[in-house]
């Protein structure tokens, strides 16, 4: 559409169609006072300060009126000044005037308007009223709400509604009593998810972070937490992080952040940080100098070359570090025994999707999700585990998309769902194949796509015979008509996108689940198109990158198979070594190998298997048997306490490198502050060890040089170079330096040898361990929004501990009543493998017969309960399903530390 030309204060201004007068003016650098306008939100026109005069139309609100071609606008006139002045004065007279001591001094919109309009002290004092003493709400650990400062612009409310979808706040009361409030009046007792999105948008100091200092400078980097990989600006002052904000230009998050990304950075400066290398002497870990520690490590590693050695790499380390780690293990120590926690999360996605599509990553982009007409979110508690990505789902729903949520638990996303399916844990294949069957029977599939771009449809179709709806209904517990409805909804709204996470993968049939998802997307032709796709949501910040970099036992960087001699010789030529030909052991297999005495030395970087591994006691026994264990981390984790040598690493805020987020976007991680004490970046440590082992090819002075080597050996990263990653990163595959990156995979052909995608016939397999008389309840595991993984970082953020600092066993009210359990009561949860003590939370978010725990809390090591039965293909343990029983502890029920009044928080948080 053609641009519009209008005249504002005598200046010619050109704007795109659809812009308002205010936007046109601000774009052109012409200031019009405004309070309730925010570029991210729909205009509401309630502050009434943005008055302008439009020729032929008179007084007009600039924030509401669309700019029109030929319009003549005046921003100043006597009448404008008069009404604006009165409105402003009326606001100011009720506003505390102590600007110098105000947290928003110099950044306050009201101040700016007052300065612009000019306020006469005479008139002002006459109008002034000294009173308004509403109590501030400081219940949220991260921010403060002071209603006395509030100008009632409603920006916070609209943010929470339009952007976050949490709907925690609204206006209450009327007239002069009008105020922003949660339902109960206290912020923590609401459905607020503490994202702080409202806080950053508040134009005055009514909503302010509790701790804020103006930074000296800011550094753009990536959030250290989840796989969404939000771009952040870290504000630094005096060598410390004092503020964190989202990057509004970022294609990943558009400036939005979740509670962890915005407020969860205290761990960086926590006194518990490791600051010197530690070596075990006489059973004690004692500080030593780097040289000594490195010498010791190199000497020891030297003795365990070959398959007696194993390494666990880290999804929290950079691509460069993961690359070096696998290079060290393969090229120097001569084994393929390298893996990392992706084994425990998305190995079935990598295996399953590689088989059907040729590539095991999210096919589409995060931004793309907003364009879907139907989103099928299965096995993902998106608002808790991928909060900022969930905002895109909310946005799509706001635009009219259908949302189908399939989850054994009642989750927060249900509030936005068109259709909600609460299936039995582990029954995903039945559910997905049931839907496929309906689509096939009703001929709702995309025949043209199937014929042109896929193979094996007939075999797949035949396998649907094994999923009559009666059976599906019985296996999943979902009423038949809901399955039919879901199938129709999914098939009839194209483009449709599937989102999934650990609810799909962490099963003994995790790979089958992924294949079933793939079948469904192929059946409806939803691949290679914007708004469609199969989107496995990756968990940790750089888990995608760690996989890409070949921190896996069977593939070299870029998913190049170790058992392919041609590939090996390519690497051998550059690395100057001979590579071991056969795949190494998967993470989950390594522990058995340790127990068997086959693996004797382990180098563990940034992982905490003592809490994260299924059947954790088994893992602990295995680690204790090792001859030599090196743990490299930023904290003395539970696992590090067992180590012979502990090496202090730099956190992601303290080093340069790249992370690859869940949408395959390689982004720059930048050093913002110095590491504490003697701590060093992981890449430096690995290089030091390698050099001391006599290896060449490890003399890098900056991660940038490592990236060049990665690009030269890894076709999908072929075009990656630091200067090209400014400012928004690039999405792989990016094969050459002039390639723009690939937002959507499989648009022309699939990454399979023949370019076609594969349907896979499937059978239904129940979970490995189901409840019985002895262990009558099914335990599933999930995540809390306020914690991350095993809590090494988040549990060192005080505010997150306030919001959710304690494990709770979620149990349905029926089950609780039958067992006479009260909310807050302490119980023992016992499985065939172990037991934990925990308080009960009675909530209908669990269906009867199902209980749930997270695994964030070291005091309640959930994974001693879980079952290490493995998926035969991906070797992932079934942490989502095991059988348990509950034994009440004697004594009166004690209320939990952070017991919430309403149940809504449980949905919001978990």
């Amino acid at each position: 559409m053609a641009d519009l030309r209008l005249t504002i204060d005598g200046r010619q201004v050109v704007v795109a169609q659809g812009a308002t007068i205010l936007e046109a003016a601000l774009d052109a650098g012409i200031y019009i006072p405004h309070l309730c306008h925010h570029p991210d939100l729909k205009p509401v026109g309630i502050c009434r300060l943005c008055m302008v005069e439009v020729a032929g139309r008179g007084m007009t609100l600039a924030c509401l009126a669309p700019a029109e071609d030929g319009m003549v606008v005046k921003t100043e006139s006597q009448q404008i000044d008069k009404v604006r002045r009165v409105a402003l004065e009326l606001l100011l007279v009720n506003h505390p005037g102590d600007c110098l001591t105000c947290a928003k001094n110099n950044r306050c919109q009201l101040q700016r308007i007052a300065a612009y309009v000019g306020v006469s002290p005479q008139r002002f004092a006459r109008l002034r009223r000294t009173e308004k003493t509403l109590p501030p709400d400081d219940s949220n650990p991260f921010f403060l709400f002071d209603p006395n400062q509030c100008v009632l612009c409603g920006i916070c409310i609209r943010t929470c509604d339009e952007i976050v979808g949490a709907n925690a706040i609204d206006f209450a009361f009327r007239g002069f009593q009008t105020m922003v409030s949660t339902l109960s009046g206290r912020w923590v007792e609401s459905s607020c998810v503490s994202c702080g999105e409202c806080v950053v948008r508040c134009p005055v100091a009514a909503l302010v972070p509790k701790r804020y200092q103006q930074p000296q400078h800011e550094v753009q980097t990536v959030c250290p937490y989840c796989g969404v990989g939000c771009t952040i600006y870290v504000g630094i002052r005096g060598g410390r992080i004092v503020a964190v904000g989202g990057d509004r230009q970022s294609p990943v998050n558009q400036g939005r952040l979740c509670v962890k990304g915005r407020f969860g950075h205290d761990f960086v400066h926590h006194p518990d940080r490791l600051t010197t290398p530690l070596v075990r002497r006489d059973g004690q870990l004692v500080p030593v100098a780097w040289d000594e520690a490195l010498e010791l490590v190199a000497r020891q590693f030297d003795q365990y070359r070959g398959d007696a050695f194993a390494a666990m790499s880290s999804a929290r380390c950079t691509n460069e570090e993961n690359y070096l780690m696998q290079k060290l293990v393969r090229a120097v120590l001569g084994t393929n025994n390298i893996d990392h926690c992706a084994r425990l999360c998305h190995s079935p996605s990598v295996a399953g999707l590689a088989r059907t599509l040729g590539s095991g990553a999210m096919t589409n982009t995060i931004q793309d999700i907003a364009q879907s007409r139907c989103i099928f979110a299965i096995g993902t508690n998106t608002t808790a585990a991928h909060p900022v990505l969930a905002l895109k789902v909310v946005e799509a729903v706001r635009r009219g998309a259908k949302l189908i949520v399939a989850n054994p638990k009642h989750i927060d996303l249900d509030r936005h769902a068109t259709l909600r399916l609460q299936h039995q844990p582990g029954s995903d294949v039945a559910l997905l194949m049931g839907m496929a069957r309906v689509i096939a029977e009703e001929r709702l599939y995309d025949a043209e796509f199937i014929a042109r771009r896929t193979v094996d449809f007939d075999a797949f179709r035949a396998s649907l015979e094994r999923f009559p709806l009666e059976f599906v209904e019985q296996a999943t517990g979902v009423p038949r008509q809901h399955i039919v409805e879901a199938a129709r909804m999914f098939a009839n709204h194209k483009p449709a996108s599937i989102l999934y996470a650990m609810g799909i993968t962490q099963h003994t049939h995790g790979t089958d689940n992924v294949l079933a998802i793939s079948n469904l997307a192929l059946l409806t032709g939803n691949l290679g198109i914007p708004g469609g796709g199969i989107n496995p949501l990756r968990g940790q910040g750089n888990v995608q990158g760690a996989c890409d970099m070949g921190a896996l036992p069977n593939v070299l960087p870029g998913y190049q198979r170790v058992d392919d001699p041609q590939i090996r010789s390519k690497f051998e030529a550059v690395w100057g070594c001979t590579l071991p030909p056969g795949p190494g052991l998967a993470l989950t297999e390594m522990f058995d190998a340790m127990l068997r005495g086959q693996i004797k030395a382990v180098y563990l970087m940034g992982e905490n298997p003592l809490l994260s591994e299924a059947d954790a006691q088994h893992a602990e026994r295995a680690l204790r048997q090792l001859d030599f264990l090196v743990v490299q981390d930023i904290f003395l984790t539970e696992t590090a306490r067992l180590a012979h040598v502990v090496l202090p690493a730099a956190s992601s805020a303290e080093k340069d490198g790249t992370f690859t987020n869940t949408e395959r976007r390689v982004q720059r991680v930048r050093k913002a502050v110095d590491p504490p004490g003697e701590a060093k970046p992981d890449w430096w440590i690995i290089c030091q060890i390698a050099q001391r082992l006599g290896a060449s090819g490890f003399s890098f002075s900056h991660p940038q040089e490592i990236m060049s080597e990665i690009a030269s050996l890894t076709p999908i990263y072929g075009g990656m170079a630091y200067q090209r990653l400014e400012p928004q990163g690039l999405q792989w595959p990016c094969p050459s330096m002039d390639h723009p990156g690939t937002p959507i995979l499989h648009t022309q052909r699939f990454a399979t040898p023949d370019g076609k995608a594969r349907f896979v016939p499937l059978d239904y397999k129940p979970p490995a361990e189901l409840p019985d008389d002895e262990y009558p309840l099914l335990l599933t595991t999930d995540r809390s929004l306020y914690q991350y993984h095993t809590g090494t970082m988040t549990r060192r953020v005080e505010g997150l501990e306030v919001l959710d600092g304690q494990e709770r066993l979620c149990i349905n009210p029926h089950d609780a009543a039958a067992m006479q359990l009260a909310d807050g009561q302490q119980v023992i949860v016992r499985s065939r493998r172990g037991r934990v003590m925990v308080r009960v939370k009675v909530t209908s978010s669990c269906q009867p017969g199902v209980v749930s725990l997270t695994f964030h809390f070291a005091e309640t090591p959930t994974n001693v309960l879980t079952h290490a039965a493995l998926d035969p293909v991906a070797k992932i343990p079934e942490t989502k399903v095991c059988a348990v029983r509950i034994e009440p502890l004697d004594g009166p029920p004690q209320p939990g530390l952070h017991q919430q009044i309403t149940d809504t928080t449980s949905c919001a948080g978990r």
Binding site: L35, V44, G45, I46, C47, R48, L49, M51, G58, M59, T60, L64, Q79, K82, V83, V86, A87, L90, L91, V93, N94, P121, Q122, R123, F124, A125, R126, L127, R128, R129, T130, E131, V151, L152, D170, F171, F173, R174, G175, F176, Q177, T178
Partner: protein, 490 residues
């Protein structure tokens, strides 16, 4: 030529002023026997059934020829013809703004696939106004018949009658009327075999004046805070549940029935004709209900032609100012319209009369009469209290301004006023409202008009009050902080 229709022998009650619902007065109306009042050539139309035994029942309504107009219209007229007739009659809305009803209906989109909604505004919360109440309590079927015809004309398939919470009897009688009408086939599917279907629902308010503003009313029916919407889009384009919607007052739809029954010529024979020199003046035609309260001998609800003078209403209908006192001021059409002085009471009560004497307009046509003993400071204080309490809180100028004005009045009443305060009050009065363009809805204008008119027309009294009560400081021009709320008794 005017007639004295129905008056209420008033039981005296001081300070029934400014009661939002005219509560006491209407109660008296019900119990009043229409005792031997003189009748004159003007024939009662809107109140014709009021006072007859069981006037609220279907049987009584049918006996007086009720629903025959509906029957005729459904059989003989197309919806377009009905709209045309209403347009030709120049009927103007009785809810306060006086917008031409036919014109409003014609804003509905052509050939809309539906649904179209019709809302009958029975929120009647304007202080001093209680005529819709009389209609709904005593002649609910007339309101209903008017509603059905209006829905037929506008193509609405659903009507909501929004009744203020404080009208329980209206609620009961309207519901009973709907039930009776439905059972008799005047509502529901295929009304009287015409193919036209309509459901009517009652919606009860919860005690907020702002719910009477048409878009506040719509938000309220939708189940939200009654925050008036920004217009455009107007309800006719995007209203209830984001569908085309018409909002009309109870009295307006009742007039529609009578226009269809008696014809355009009859309607235009009543009232003030359009000004021939002003092509945009639609005139003020038809009968109007006038509620009269305050310091008069016979407060009550009266029917008279538009254009009747204020004096005639007070002196002939309401029996003059009570206790032999002199008149001081009159609120001509509900509190929002401001005040006129005793000198101005020959003003004709039509849509332009009150405007000419500096008031907001005819408003609801409900008069509040103040005698010579009543203090204009009290009047303004009460007025500010009402509007500050009822502001929805959305627009800065209204939320802060109404409250601030109340604070000022509190200070003046507490004996700490200053002459300069009056100028500040006027400045607030001049800058809040849709007319100066600073607010979303007309509530702020309603708050501003009493301030502007009372201070401008009775400035001497205000100054005297301030001088007498603040002997030491009335002339003070140095800034003084406004009073704290707690320092003044309410």
């Amino acid at each position: 030529m005017t007639v004295y229709i129905a008056a209420i022998p008033a039981r005296r009650r001081e300070r029934c002023l400014l009661r939002a619902s005219g509560e006491g007065i209407a109660r008296r109306f019900r119990s009043a026997a229409l005792s031997g009042l003189p009748t004159m050539p003007y024939q009662n139309v809107l109140l014709a059934n009021v006072g007859k035994p069981n006037s609220h029942t279907l049987a009584a309504y049918l006996a007086s020829g009720g629903y025959s107009t509906l029957r005729k219209v459904l059989k003989e007229k197309s919806p377009q013809e009905v709209v045309e007739i209403v347009r030709a009659s120049n009927l103007r809305g009785r809810g306060g703004a006086g917008f031409p009803t036919g014109l409003k209906w014609s804003f509905l989109p052509d050939k809309h696939p539906g649904p179209i909604y019709f809302c009958v505004n029975a929120d009647e919360s304007e202080p001093g106004t209680f005529v819709n109440r009389v209609q709904m309590e005593h002649d609910p079927h007339q309101v209903l018949e008017g509603t059905i015809i209006s829905c037929y004309a506008t193509g609405a398939s659903r009507a909501y009658i929004y009744i203020r919470y404080e009208y329980p009897l209206c609620w009961k009688r309207m519901q009973a009327a709907i039930d009776e009408a439905r059972a008799a086939g005047y509502l529901g599917r295929n009304i009287l075999g015409s193919g036209f279907s309509l459901e009517v629902y009652l919606h009860r308010g919860a005690g907020a004046y702002i719910c009477g503003e048409e878009t506040g009313l719509i938000e309220s029916i939708e189940g939200r805070r009654a925050w008036p919407r920004i217009k455009p889009p107007f309800p006719a384009v995007e209203g209830l549940f984001r569908k085309p919607t018409v909002v009309n007052n109870v009295e307006t739809v009742a007039c529609v029935k009578h226009i269809l029954e008696r014809g355009v010529a009859w309607f235009k024979s009543i009232g003030t004709p359009a000004d021939p020199n002003d092509p945009r003046d639609p005139g003020s035609y038809g009968p109007k209900l006038f509620g009269i309260s305050g310091h008069v001998n016979r407060p009550g609800c009266y029917e008279a032609p538009l254009g009747i003078s204020c004096r005639e209403l007070i002196e002939r209908f309401a029996g003059g100012v009570w206790k032999g006192r002199k008149l001081k001021a009159v609120v001509p059409g509900g509190l929002s319209t401001g005040v006129i002085t005793a000198e101005e009471i020959d003003t004709p009560m039509d849509f332009s009369g009150p405007l000419r004497v500096g008031c907001l307009g005819l408003g609801t046509g409900c008069l509040i009469v103040l005698d010579e003993t009543y203090s204009m400071v009290d009047f303004l204080y009460n007025s500010c209290r009402f509007f500050a309490h009822e502001s929805c809180g959305q627009c800065t100028p209204c939320r802060e301004g109404t409250h601030w004005a109340l604070q000022m009045l509190r200070r003046i009443k507490a004996g700490r006023g200053r002459i300069k305060d009056l100028d500040l009050l006027l400045e607030i009065g001049d800058t809040i409202g849709i007319l100066p363009g600073t607010t979303i809805c007309g509530l702020a204008d309603g708050a501003a008009w009493p301030i502007k008119t009372a201070i401008r027309k009775f400035r001497q009294e205000f100054e005297d009050y301030i001088k007498h009560t603040n002997v030491a400081g009335w002339m003070e021009t140095q800034p003084v902080p406004a009073l704290e709320q707690s320092a003044v008794a309410h």
